[in-house]
Symmetry: C2
């Protein structure tokens, strides 16, 4: 009886907490996800608490309840990006049929919806207003960049070691060349369309494998 009572109480508490958490998580998540969309389209300074509140049908004050300062939201967006990135990479590492295929899959994921909706890749989206970002966010962005560069470098290294890519090349320089090309192309695609983007990837593949 006492046990049942405790149990019921526990359930109730759990339920209450769960319900509260669910609501909390939902609103919070909706804020983060809409913000991530806006970030990729317009940069961190390109959307406001008013935009978010209108999209979710709540007030600005409610948004501030979840993220008191905008820098808090910015850091949550860094977390979101990191999750997106880690989940993607483990996926590609498991399924890719070759090193080039890994890069292809990565690019395809980063570009998903980007080309049609004039959005940037999640990591480089912060670069739009880089000079105006708080230092705490800059540091996170830098870490995300390094993480990405490390992964691409490892793919290049493996490709060179296994004679998939041409020998005698610096894998890190190749990796940065690849990343810069992709992101530059994505910037251009917003104004010039995707043809040039695909064409550039093809050219890179040719250079990578035959030089």
């Amino acid at each position: 009886m006492q046990l049942y009572y405790l149990h019921a109480d526990y359930q109730m508490n759990t339920k209450t907490v769960t319900a509260a958490n669910t609501k909390l998580i939902n609103t919070r998540q909706q804020i983060v996800e809409y913000s991530a969309d806006m970030l990729r389209a317009n940069g961190f300074e390109g959307f406001s608490y008013l935009d978010i509140s209108r999209h979710l049908g709540i007030t600005k004050a409610s948004v501030h309840h979840h993220f008191p300062k905008k820098v808090d939201l910015g850091l949550a967006l860094c977390d979101w990006t990191q999750d997106w990135f880690e989940q993607g990479l483990s996926h590609f590492d498991a399924r890719a049929t070759s090193n080039w295929n890994k890069l292809e899959r990565y690019v395809r994921a980063a570009m998903k919806h980007s080309l049609n909706e004039h959005k940037l890749c999640p990591i480089s989206a912060f670069y739009s207003d880089l000079n105006k970002l708080p230092d705490s966010i800059k540091e996170r962005v830098k870490a995300l960049d390094d993480y990405e560069l490390d992964w691409v470098t490892a793919v290049m290294q493996d490709g060179i070691d296994n004679d998939e890519f041409a020998p005698n090349q610096d894998p890190r320089a190749l990796a940065s060349l690849f990343i810069f090309s992709c992101k530059g192309a994505l910037y251009y695609a917003r104004l010039h369309g995707k043809d040039l983007f695909h064409q550039t990837m093809k050219q890179f593949e040719h250079l990578l494998k035959s030089s």
Copy 2:
């Protein structure tokens, strides 16, 4: 005597007009040049008439006298960029010792002060707030991009024709790969320093000449 009088009168008018024009041109030019600096650092939405007025020691209203709407200032910045670009290219075309040297000179000019002052190249600076730009400016930016791409393509073509670059490559795809790499690297350099930038250029040169 009459002649002298007329001459004097003419001089005076000329002087007045010249002085007025000089002042006009100076203020106007100062606005454009400071705006160009800010554009390259923070994007078109990243500076305001208040910033300009403070920098020049005049009021916002005076800035509006020269550029009634901000889109007018934006179009003037497109003109400024076009001038910068055309002057540069004729300079490189005249002095470069090889096609690769042309590209090197172009990159060096575009990067001048950029790397140390965290600025972007003048053409791609508009990309920071691309989705928020008025259509009239977007069109101008697109035209500037095409102009740049045409020039680099011609350099690549000439390099291939003269056996300076590896044969059997699509000069336009090479050109876009080059441009994307440069601009992507410049974005990165704002946060990661210039080493990666120079390293990437070296890698590109290797790929271009030996593939």
